[in-house]
């Protein structure tokens, strides 16, 4: 069955919310290159051409003992008991059953398709700071849509690990809300064969988001983030990495919407492309008229390991306020020959030296993970991933 069918399936007659969503979706159709956000990823074609592949086994975070919730093939499989029975943290989580909601106005086709077809998702309020990270795993080998809604109440602090390792094509939607003064750390890592993931994260006053997103592997992975800095004093730190090899197509879209004054955002991306892989990073900062004293930086870098690899970057600014400090830059280059020679001159063989330099480049994203145990797991995984896949 062509993957495109996962979007064009009939909705239950009686389900008016889903049907309404499906109508919105059908009216727009899947995004094509004419849609600015999807300029580099012609989704219908990619879906048509995608072949089922083996995917890598993901980073195993078991050693940091997270609360772990598993969705397999789009439906909840495991983990709530684990949350409910959590000693000391009983009062941290409040889960409600999944139910589709009417779409917001101007919903995108991806959102609408997701709403129309998602059968399940995590609907969670975090009412107290949990003592351990929460991991949400996406697994399975059939095509599916899935939709999560997470709310962090005021003052709550949590680490969310998003493990996206389904070999079936999937379309994941996240709505995340951070209450006043809430702090969320996200570590997300993708391996999916054909994966579309969208997250909208809204930050109230003084809320802080620290997000590290890795596309480790995957034939076609599209990761889109909309960060809404809606309350004064909200800060978002968004660090991203793409590791493309083979014929991978990895597309990241990261938009910081500054709605309120005294907000800041940092968008960093370090991308490594090898073989004939294609990487895309589109960063965008939008500053609303009343959002004065905004500080926004964007820095996109790519390391090209092969002449046939491709990287497209487009840092954009859309500023309607006048007292704003925005900086952006993009650099694309090869492995640094001087650094390579230096390491060799210090006795490190060329192959190892290359790997070290690639890892060092990605390390600048990994290093922003504050919690050491998680950081070390990511570091080790990436080192061995580079050792296995780099043509170096």
């Amino acid at each position: 069955m062509p993957l495109i069918k996962m979007f064009n399936i009939a909705t239950p007659e009686k389900d008016s919310v889903r049907q309404a969503a499906y109508k919105v979706a059908q009216a727009q159709g899947l995004p094509t290159r004419h849609n600015e956000d999807w300029h580099y990823t012609e989704l219908p074609t990619l879906l048509r051409d995608a072949k089922p592949t083996q995917i890598l086994s993901p980073i195993d975070f078991a050693s940091v003992n997270p609360y772990c919730i598993v969705f397999r093939d789009g439906v909840f499989r495991d983990g709530v008991k684990n949350i409910e029975a959590s000693e000391g943290d009983e009062a941290a989580f409040h889960i409600t059953p999944y139910a589709p909601q009417p779409l917001p106005e101007k919903a995108t086709a991806i959102n609408a398709y997701n709403m129309a077809h998602a059968q399940d998702g995590l609907c969670l309020r975090v009412i107290n700071t949990p003592s351990r990270p929460l991991e949400v795993k996406t697994l399975g080998d059939t095509s599916h849509h899935i939709r999560h809604h997470i709310v962090l109440e005021a003052g709550v602090e949590m680490t969310l690990i998003k493990t996206c390792a389904a070999s079936g094509a999937h379309n994941i939607w996240w709505d995340i809300e951070l209450g006043q003064g809430a702090r969320l750390n996200i570590i997300s890592h993708h391996y999916g064969s054909v994966a579309v993931e969208t997250q909208t994260i809204t930050l109230a006053k003084d809320a802080t988001l620290h997000s590290t997103d890795f596309i480790m592997a995957g034939d076609v992975v599209r990761h889109e983030s909309h960060i809404h800095l809606s309350g004064v004093g909200a800060h978002a730190y968004l660090h991203n990495a793409i590791l493309g090899t083979g014929n991978n197509h990895h597309d990241m879209r990261c938009v910081a919407h500054h709605h309120a004054a005294h907000t800041s955002s940092t968008i960093n991306a370090h991308n490594v492309l090898d073989d004939t892989a294609r990487g895309i990073f589109q960063g965008k900062v939008i500053v609303a008229r009343d959002a004065q004293h905004v500080d926004a930086t964007q820095n996109i870098r790519a390391m090209m390991l092969s002449d046939e690899a491709e990287m497209d970057t487009k840092p954009e600014l859309e500023i309607y306020a006048d007292d704003v400090a925005c900086a952006h830059g993009a650099t694309i280059g090869a492995l640094d020959d001087d650094a390579l020679f230096f390491l060799q001159a210090r006795g490190v063989d060329k192959k190892t030296a290359k790997r070290l330099l690639i890892a060092a480049f990605i390390e600048q994203v990994v290093a922003t993970i504050a919690a050491e145990p998680q950081r070390v797991l990511v570091q080790n995984y990436i080192s061995s991933l580079i050792a296995e896949t780099s043509s170096a």
């Binding site: 640094d336 001087d338 230096f342 001159a345 210090r346 006795g347 060329k350 480049f361």
Partner: protein, 249 residues
């Protein structure tokens, strides 16, 4: 036995002849200094000894401890005990000084068939050597040369040298950028390494360094050729008279 034996070495860079017939023999225990005007080929010589790509030997030979090393990659030369302190130390974000030192140290030990040293023991060793160069723990934890001042970078090169304990070290203008006190500290580090089995090639523009690191021989490199050799007194003469006398050679 001589550690390094360079015979009639001709080197092209980008098709241009840069070194034009260098002859130099350095024995264990010796310190040789090379002085010469900008662009005369001093760094080129250091790179070609260390094995950098893009330096084409068109004629002549380089032997290190009796072995022709012209075809060896840089790491193989390092394994034999060659060390180059860079004129322009490079920065690598994402690798800490400590990681670099451990990686290099382990690579050298492995090449010699020795076991890797355990981390705690190695840390102690590095701390001790760093302290002698007046570098603190904080600097060890920082990313390689990132945000280091010019002088700190040079000191860092010397730290790598004293930790790795090479048999033959080339110091390419290590003194440039060092303040007077740092120069003395670095020179002490270098002098402590002098031994009958080791040799050094010190490239410098300033006679002052040679007050601290007394060379056995001083050579003048002009336009890719060693045009004069002598003892430490030659450096004093160069300091006073410059290179004008050699320019028409």
């Amino acid at each position: 036995m001589s550690l390094i034996e360079i015979k009639d070495l001709h080197v092209n860079v980008n098709g241009e002849p840069i070194l034009r017939g260098i002859n130099l023999v350095i024995k264990g225990g010796e310190v040789h200094a090379i002085m010469g005007p900008n662009g005369s080929g001093k760094s080129t010589l250091s790179y070609v000894l260390a094995g950098r790509d893009g330096y084409e030997i068109t004629k002549g030979s380089i032997a290190f401890m009796g072995q022709d090393i012209a075809a060896l990659p840089p790491e193989a030369r390092a394994h034999l005990g060659m060390f180059l302190a860079f004129q322009y130390p490079i920065e690598v974000a994402g690798i800490t000084n400590m990681t670099l030192l451990k990686t290099s140290y382990d690579a050298l030990r492995k090449a010699r068939g020795e076991e890797a040293m355990n981390s705690a023991q190695f840390l102690r060793l590095v701390r001790e050597k760093a302290a002698a160069l007046q570098m603190n723990d904080d600097m060890l934890k920082r990313q390689l040369n990132v945000g280091f001042s010019g002088g700190e970078k040079k000191r860092n090169e010397i730290l790598q040298m004293v930790v790795l304990e090479p048999r033959f070290a080339i110091l390419d203008e290590t003194d440039s950028g060092l303040d007077i006190d740092a120069l003395q500290i670095v020179a002490e580090g270098v002098n402590a390494m002098r031994s009958p089995e080791r040799a050094m090639l010190v490239i410098t523009h300033y006679q002052r360094l040679l007050d601290f690191i007394r060379p056995d021989y001083v050579h003048v490199l002009v336009a890719g050729q060693l045009v004069e050799s002598g003892d430490a007194a030659l450096a004093l003469k160069l300091e006073a008279e410059g290179y004008a006398a050699y320019q028409n050679v």
